[in-house]
Symmetry: C2
Subunit: 762 residues, 2 copies
């Protein structure tokens, strides 16, 4: 295409633009909307566009004292001239594909060139403004990360518009908070005063863009003229409301709405908040730069945050200000608190991207990260002290405050219902308690895909029973300790089955990460010794003997069931008794799926299956329709994936534990990874954190291979995913492609999974 | 076949036996040799055989008062009658396929039956002896392990022989110690007195059986008659000598000799071993983590071990677990015994490097090194008491037991030379020191396949430098610490390259299992702090921060090179300087292969390759023929195997680290496995210990897949195996089937690999 074609009217003063296909492709940013509004017949101020390549050539030609291209340019400028023939004053605007603070603001009231030479002479107002507009891209498009492509640069465009008469009005096409259609004030601008026919413009733009748009129009004696528009980012809530509204107005189909919502942003809406903010006084106020409330242990470094998270602890990262080195720590923290910075600070930007509550710019806060101490006013805090922050209003509170969990209503509910209609993969949840199960149900969970039975012991008195079992010296002592656990477990299972009322519940057999359950500090050891009636010295010896070099790869999972069959016996009996109790109070059958963790050979599965089936057969449920029982293997080791054919022939289902599978496939301990993951990210060694988004090329192939081999051996095999990746949109798209039957994620991620799987199955 | 055919003469009094194919198949145990000797025309005492099935039917027939089968049996017995027609006295012998103490001893001097009925009546001497002979199998053939097949049981046979006249002589066909051909005394029997024509019999049996045989003959007036023979187990040394002798006598080809030697028994010859393990019972069992037996005085500290060694005393270092501080003591000790730890524990690694027998992870052992006392079960031991350990099977014995020292005589050398002629896969060794390299060369190693560079720091003064590097807080401190290490390393590499004189040397980049190098006890920490000029408290903090939850999956291997590029820089420079120094003193080029450990992604390899190649290019060697440099990846993670195509396209070779690959594929920490591996073995969950013999179905498929993908991407790719499995005969057969280019094992395993790979390639 000749460069002459890269200078053209998008809204000529007279009639409509007749653009070639390649010109249409050049319409980035505002140019696109100006063209489309004009094309639709709405009064639009005359506008022309020129690419950087064309502009550069105009300048080169000028140096060669050539004028061929200039003739085209001048002809273009004449497209801005109305029928009355009087050259208007001009406006020069950038038209970047994405809005950025570094761009040149519109330069308005520029006199039309007097002579053709003036139209390209950078010493004259029009050409100077165009030159500066292009220069302002130079910074913004490449940005700080050094990325940017020269080809794209040549296609950048600048707009030249006629100045419109009358009042200029700024407004939004939809309310930034409620999403309601109709002119709404743009942040920092007065409420617009607009004639009625703006509604046609708004309807037009909303339908074409499918997003909230910031608009610029002129109003002259009740006559409205369109100047420009660009999409703006609003809260996820407003976007959802707008999406539902578009469906109701028949602008979109429900399918359009579902496919255009960003699942990652949906996740951010599902934040907790303070239960009763009115009852407590903040000890400090800063800026709420990323919404949601968070409570946790104070920590001062990214590494500590990662370590705490790996142990399942919530923490608040407290720093003077954050920088790129803190990103891993911010992701690991539950919330972020900074002494400096504001809404557009690094902390604010990253916190919103990652969906972490963040309070920034707390002036009374000072942090000494070397001494590991911080002060808020005259209070001193050390690592281990607790704070609560509210990223919605910037408040900082002492201690751990009760938080209220988000609820799904109105627009979200509608959208998720539409999602469910086109979704074929079931969404379950990973929970152990009735309370979490109810949260997950309110979010639309269709079953429990992972109930980690050992987590039922996270209370002081149960912990004593569990420790007694773990520390037993022989089978007899262990059997006695176990007897005390059956009752707890029976009650727990019964309540959980009842809460799920006929939906499937996958109980993973005991898989204690021993080191998490054992006493560590001197104080804990003394306490445990006395509660177990042991001498402290004897307990220490026993703890020493149990200690593992690599607990992640140690005596856990199915290995426990095989070495201590009495644990398996106890658990199966408790599950059966729980199912019987629940079945007595409901019409639907109890759907129990028992899953064996950390399997690496088919013989392990055969061993456990034989015993589990015997207990099931002896439970009296054998021929009853009060229970539907199935048996499965958790796939979290590479060898299990390789031998999936053998394993599948002995089970009803398999479910991938993607966290452990990622650990063993990569040979990375998630607990220890922070020491090198930051350097890996900085040096671009990993494309993505494999613990956040599934590693398709490695772990993903492992899963795909296992599903293929498993289904070949057992065509009726049910396949699930129950690792953390089951709540990550990118990973969910991958799993959907593998044809799994269900995924299971944490309760707050259930809506994300419902939406993403609907998008993936479309 | 009718049961009548299951009673037949194998050496008739008159002429030769004419057996059907199915009768030939029945010839188990002695029957086989009696038949073959008779068949060869050597005078043999008349002998008939009967199967248990036939005998049982004779009894059933008797109960039915039928006589059809009995007629056959009596006819059979008549085959024992000489031309003179006088029925001889009879002998009844068992003829089991393998000799066993529970079998009935030969019952001799039995009168021939007077009437047909007497031949089957268990109240009469002949039938009673036959009945008892069969009954003695009942115990022996099924044995304590409950295994045994009914089909085989029916085919068991009993022999009835005529009593021979003259003197009965017992002897061996070859000397039990030297392997020399000719009549040799059988253990517990007087030296045989035999006429010259026994040599024909011995030659005949030796050629037919290809094993040492225990023989029974009668000598009557200088006339020899063959009665029976069975193979006996002699020392591996005697077997090797006999094998070579058979080749020299042209009874065997060299190929026969190589293929008939049991490689596992060869391995046992290369370490000191218990002279008579069957005569003693262990007082405890642990893990045999470094092979060979050792006896000595119990000692609890490195200093005492050094003191005892200085006085020429053998001692066994007994500790809970070893750490860097114990290295000198381990070198001084004759053997090492620990309460904790497994195959990859510090004790195991150092013991194998230094060639010391070591038993680790003895759960019934507890050591109080302050009180200088240890307990094994309820026995108490003090310094000065004596123990014997066997690092091959993990046994611990009371007192000093007699040991047999290894001897590599002429026969081994000859056999291994023959092996090399038919072997196509190279055998290298895993060593870091010149001393070990020389041992390996004397065993026929063809290069070094794994030099673990971090092991070059196992001496007190180097350990200080290494700890300084590990504990550095920033890059500058680390660079300073590293500078001090370059000289050590350069000297080490130069010496190692020189020792190998042009053979390839694979240097694995630094892969420290950090926890093995760091101080642990209060005393060590104080010492380290002072040697580093740090406050003890600061050092403890740093140690806390470095501590890993799962060090096996932690900050190691290539992850260190990427996070601390200065370490990579130092190592590459030292390797290049070492190669230059070695190259100046030899004619052959120095063959250096740099290998990157613990790779999981191709980007890691690309990152290290770029830097390593730059250092190589800048070393001045670029176009010289003094060095042949190649670059490779160690494959020890499942993900590396899956992505072998990407990785192979960037390297000259890959080498499988089968230990770590087994750990990650199975999700088993070798150190922690003992707690459940015993139960797994007892319950038959694993067919074999996957750390001893490669798991073909899992880890093996991983390796096969990686080789296939790697060679598809890079047809010139060289493939090696450098894990412990490279010294295990069963695993070596598997690797040979995969078409690897070389294997690399510990020095003492080199002969085993040479022999096994020759057998595999035949």
């Amino acid at each position: 295409m000749s460069l002459a074609q890269e200078m053209f009217a998008i809204a000529p003063a007279d009639g409509k633009a007749n653009l070639s296909a390649s010109q249409l492709k050049m319409l980035a940013g505002k140019a696109r909307w100006i063209f489309r509004v004009c094309e639709a017949g709405f009064p639009t101020v005359p506008t022309i566009a020129i690419t950087r390549a064309a502009w550069d050539e105009l300048q080169a030609e000028r140096a060669r004292r050539d004028t061929r291209l200039r003739t085209h340019w001048v002809a273009c400028l004449f497209k801005l001239v109305d029928k009355d023939g009087k050259p208007p004053l001009l406006v020069v605007r950038t038209s970047a594909s994405s809005h950025n603070g570094g761009l040149m603001p519109a330069r308005t009231g520029i006199a039309a060139p007097n002579a053709p030479e003036d139209a390209v002479d950078p010493a004259r107002p029009l050409a100077r403004a165009i030159k500066q507009a292009f220069e302002s891209y130079g910074f913004s498009e490449r940005g700080w990360n050094g990325k940017g492509q020269e080809g794209d640069r040549a296609r950048q465009i600048v707009l030249v518009q006629a100045v419109a008469g009358g009042e200029i009005e700024h407004f939004l096409t939809r309310n930034a908070t409620t999403g309601a259609l109709g002119p709404a004030p743009l942040n920092g601008h007065p409420p617009p005063r607009l004639p009625k026919d703006v509604d046609a413009l708004i309807g037009l733009l909303d339908a074409k863009a499918g997003r909230h748009m910031a608009c610029l129009v002129s109003v002259d004696r009740g006559r409205i003229q369109f100047l420009s528009a660009r999409p703006i980012q609003v809260s996820a809530g407003a976007e959802l409301e707008a999406a539902v509204d578009r469906v109701e107005r028949k602008v979109w189909t429900p399918h359009n709405a579902v496919s255009r919502i960003d699942a990652t942003r949906l996740a951010q809406m599902l934040h907790p908040r303070l239960k009763s903010p009115d009852d407590v006084s903040p000890i400090a106020m800063g800026l709420g730069v990323s919404p949601g409330a968070a409570s946790g242990i104070i920590t001062f470094s990214a590494e500590d945050a990662a370590r705490l998270r790996a142990r399942g602890k919530h923490c608040i990262l407290v720093v003077n200000e954050t920088g790129p080195a803190d990103i891993e720590g911010m992701k690991a923290a539950t919330g972020i608190l900074t002494a400096r910075g504001g809404m557009s600070s690094h902390a604010g930007v990253i916190a919103r991207i990652t969906g972490k509550p963040c309070v920034a710019g707390v002036r009374s806060l000072s942090v000494d990260s070397v001494e590991m101490v911080c002060r808020i006013g005259d209070r001193e805090f050390r690592q281990g002290d607790r704070l609560t922050i509210d990223g919605s209003d910037g408040a900082v509170y002492l201690g751990t405050l009760p938080l209220a969990q988000p609820q799904i209503g109105g627009a979200i509910g509608t959208l998720l219902d539409w999602s469910d209609a086109s979704r074929t993969i079931a969404v379950r949840t990973n929970v152990e308690t009735v309370e979490s199960a109810q949260t997950a149900l309110s979010f639309g969970a269709e079953g429990i895909g992972l109930a980690r039975s050992e987590h039922m012991f996270f209370s002081p008195e149960r912990m004593v029973a569990l420790r007694r079992m773990i520390l037993s010296e022989d089978e007899e002592a262990r059997s006695r300790a176990i007897a005390g656990l059956v009752d707890y477990q029976t009650g727990d299972y019964s309540a959980l089955f009842s809460a799920m009322n006929g939906m499937p519940v996958t109980v993973r057999l005991f898989d204690p990460p021993l080191h998490e359950f054992l006493p560590r500090t001197d104080e804990e050891i003394e306490e445990t010794a006395s509660s177990l009636g042991l001498a402290v010295r004897a307990l220490r010896l026993r703890l020493d003997r149990i200690a593992e070099v690599n607990p992640m790869l140690g005596h856990r999972g199915v290995r426990l069931a095989i070495t201590y069959p009495e644990i398996l016996q106890m658990q199966m009996q408790a599950v059966m008794a729980g199912a019987r109790a629940a079945g007595e109070n409901q019409d639907k059958p109890v759907v129990v799926e028992v899953m064996v963790p950390f399997v690496s050979t088919a013989t392990e599965i055969a061993w456990v299956r034989e015993r589990a089936m015997t207990i099931f057969a002896n439970s009296g449920f054998g021929r009853s329709d009060r229970i539907r029982f199935s048996f499965g293997a958790m796939m979290e080791l590479p060898r299990a994936c390789l031998r999936a054919g053998d394993i599948a022939s002995m089970v009803d289902f398999i479910s991938f534990g993607t966290n452990d599978l990622t650990q063993t496939t990569f040979g990375i301990s998630r607990d220890d990874a922070p020491t090198f993951l930051a350097a890996y990210q900085r040096k671009g060694v990993y494309e993505r954190d494999p613990f956040v988004t599934i590693d398709e090329k490695g772990v993903g192939e492992m899963i795909a291979m296992a599903i293929e081999r498993g289904r070949a051996a057992n065509p009726r095999l049910k396949v699930g995913i129950c690792g953390e990746h089951a709540g990550d949109p990118a990973s969910l798209h991958f799993f959907a492609g593998l044809g799994v039957d269900y995924v299971s994620c944490s309760p707050y991620r259930v809506p994300v999974a419902r939406l993403t799987l609907a998008q993936a199955s479309a």
